[in-house]
Symmetry: C2
Subunit: 330 residues, 2 copies
C-alpha cells in the first residue's frame, strides 16, 4: 500500500476535510461522552476532561477513520471491498465499517494476533488472511506482500490504519466533537503511534482554536515520534519495547508533516507510569482502557506537562484491553 | 436508626419529591451518560440503553441519595453532621456529600471492610468508627448500637442507605434523567438489594410513563425481594450467598411499599450469569461495573424478561469493583 506525500501532490487535509468527514460518519459512530473526575482533578491540580473513545464502536477511535475511508469510496470501488494490515484495532474497525456498507473487508493478520482481536474481526464479518512470515512477528514487508496479494486478487481498496488522508480526516472528527462538547480546552493530549489520531487531533484543534496546545504522548520505550518531532525527520530505526501495543509503529509520511506543522510537543512516559495510569482509569474513572490509551494520563501524572489550573482534554483512545492478562496482576 | 412507615404518618414520596431532589442535587452530581451497543443489541434482540451510574461521583448511584439527604438538612442539623452504617458504597457517597457541605460524616464500618472501600471513605474525609462485633461480620444490632452511640455523642443525623425517604427521592433522580435522555423506554431494569434504587426508579418511571415496565433484578441466592413482592410481606429471614455484595440486604419498610405499588415484577439471576454479564460489560461496553450492577444485564442475557424488539433501559448502578479480585480470574 503506497501513498503520495500530500506536500508533493494530494492536497493537505484541512478543517473542511475534517468537517466533511464528520458529516459523512456521524450517523455511524458514537458521539462519545466526555467525563470528569473531581478526584483526579484534586490529584493533578488540573481540570481534566476525558473524551471516551474507548466507548466508541469497536472500542476504539479508529472506527472514525475506517468509516470515513469506507464511505469515501465510490460504489464501484466499494463493491470490490477494502483491505488493511492489522493485528488489532484497525482490523475490527474496518471490518465493522465494511459490514455496515455491505462490502467485504480483507484483513492481513499475523498468526500471533490475540484470540480476542481475532474474535472481534470475525464478529464484525471481516475476512482474515493470515500473513505468512519467516519469524514469529511478520515484518512490514511480509504484511505488505500479503496485502498486495489480496489487492491483486480482489481489487479491494487499501485503507491504511494511519497513513491515509481519509483515515486522518476521520480521526480528526474526535477533536471536532471534543471542542463542541468542551469549548474551553487549553490543552489537548493524544497518544501517538503511527500518528493518525495525533495528526487529526492537531489539525482540527489548531484550525478551530489556535491558542489551544496539542501534545502527543508516547512511551519512552517507543519515543520515535518525539525524536521525529525534534529532529525534523521520521525516525524509523527503533525497537519498541512497550506494553502500549498500539503505539509501537513509526510515524507515516502523511501523519508526520501534520504533526510537525500543528502539534506543539511530544512527551514521553515510563512503562510503570502507563500501568499506574491505566489502573487509575479503571479504578477512579470506571473505564476499561487499553495500555496505549493510558499514555496521556500517565504524562499528566508524571508531571511531563504544565497542567496546574488548566483545562486539559485527554483522549482515551481505546478500550480493547485483554481482561485475562492485566498488567497489575500479581 | 428508626424510620416511620410512610403510610403511618410521613407523606409517601411522589414525583414532586423526586423532582425537588433533582433540583437540589443536580449541581453536585454527574448527569451520567447513556450508552448503547450494537453488539449487545444483536446478541439480545433488544434495543438496550445503559444508564452509567458507575460513572457517577464516588462510582455509584448512592451519591444521589446521599446528596439529597445532606442538602435536605437545616443548617443547624447539618452542623452536627450525618451518620450511617455501611461497609461500602453508602459510606463513600455520604462522606463525599458531607465533605461538600463542609460537615462531618460518621461512618460505622465493619473491620472486615475491603481496603479499597476504607480508602475511599478516607479520601472523602469520612470519620470511620469501627463496629465492635462478636463475630466476623457485625449483626444489624451491632451496627445499630455503633450508629446510635455516634448519634448520642454527636447529634449527627442518621442517613440510611436505602430506608430513608430522602435517600429514595435522591435515587429516583436517576430515572428522571434517564427518561429525559431516552424518553421512549418501554422497560427499565434496576438491581434490588435494600430497594432504594428500585423504589425510586419505579416511583419516578411510573409517575412519568405509566406504560413503561419497571422490573427489579436480584440474585437467585438473595431472592428476598422477589419473595417479598410475591407474598406481600417483607422477607427478612434469608442467608444471602451471592457475589453481588450490594444486594445482600432485605427490603426496608419504606422501600417495600413503593416497590409493591410501582414495580411490575422482580426477577432473579444465577451467580454464573452475574459473572458473565459483568465480564461482558467490561469487554463490550468497556465499563468497569461491580457484580451487583451486572444483575439486570444478566437478567436480559438469561432470558428472564421479554425484551425482543423492545427499548430496554438498564441501570448500571456502580463501578466499585475490586480490581485485585476479579471473579473470572483463573
Amino acid at each position: 500500500m503506497t501513498h503520495g506525500h500530500f506536500t508533493a501532490g494530494a492536497p493537505a487535509p484541512d478543517l473542511q476535510t475534517a468537517q466533511a468527514a464528520h458529516r459523512r460518519i456521524q450517523s455511524f459512530v458514537h458521539r462519545t461522552p466526555v467525563i470528569t473526575s473531581a478526584s483526579l482533578d484534586r490529584l493533578t491540580g488540573a481540570r481534566l476532561f476525558f473524551k471516551c473513545e474507548n466507548l466508541q464502536r469497536a472500542g476504539v477511535f479508529k472506527t472514525r477513520g475506517a468509516f470515513n475511508a469506507v464511505y469515501s469510496l465510490s460504489d464501484a470501488e466499494a463493491a470490490r471491498g477494502v483491505v488493511t494490515s492489522s493485528s488489532g484495532n484497525q482490523a475490527a474497525a474496518l471490518s465493522l465499517a465494511a459490514r455496515t456498507r455491505g462490502i467485504p473487508a480483507y484483513i492481513a493478520m499475523p498468526k500471533i494476533a490475540l484470540k480476542s482481536k481475532v474474535a472481534a474481526v470475525e464478529r464484525y464479518g471481516g475476512n482474515i488472511v493470515w500473513v505468512e512470515s519467516q519469524g514469529a512477528v511478520p515484518t512490514a514487508e511480509e504484511y505488505e506482500a500479503t496485502a498486495a496479494a489480496i489487492q491483486a486478487r480482489t481489487g479491494a481498496s487499501p485503507v491504511h490504519a494511519y497513513n491515509d488522508l481519509r483515515t486522518i480526516a476521520g480521526q480528526a472528527t474526535c477533536a471536532l466533537e471534543f471542542l463542541e462538547q468542551q469549548p474551553a480546552l487549553e490543552v489537548v493530549l493524544a497518544p501517538v503511534g503511527g500518528g493518525g489520531l495525533l495528526a487529526g487531533t492537531a489539525l482540527a484543534t489548531k484550525c478551530l482554536r489556535p491558542g489551544t496546545d496539542v501534545v502527543g504522548c508516547e512511551p519512552e520505550m517507543a519515543d520515535d515520534a518525539q525524536r521525529s518531532f525534534r529532529t525534523g525527520r521520521i525516525v524509523r530505526d527503533f525497537q519498541p519495547r512497550t506494553i502500549a501495543d498500539g503505539l509501537r509503529t513509526a510515524l507515516g509520511d502523511l501523519t508526520y508533516p501534520l504533526i510537525a506543522r500543528y502539534a506543539d510537543d511530544v512527551v514521553t512516559v515510563t512503562e510503570a507510569g502507563i500501568v499506574s495510569a491505566m489502573r487509575l482509569a479503571w479504578e477512579v474513572l470506571k473505564l476499561v482502557i487499553e495500555p496505549s490509551s493510558a499514555v496521556p494520563l500517565a504524562a499528566v501524572l508524571e508531571g511531563k506537562l504544565a497542567v496546574a489550573g488548566r483545562s486539559v482534554g485527554v483522549i482515551l483512545s481505546g478500550g480493547n484491553a485483554d481482561l485475562d492478562n492485566l498488567p497489575w496482576r500479581p
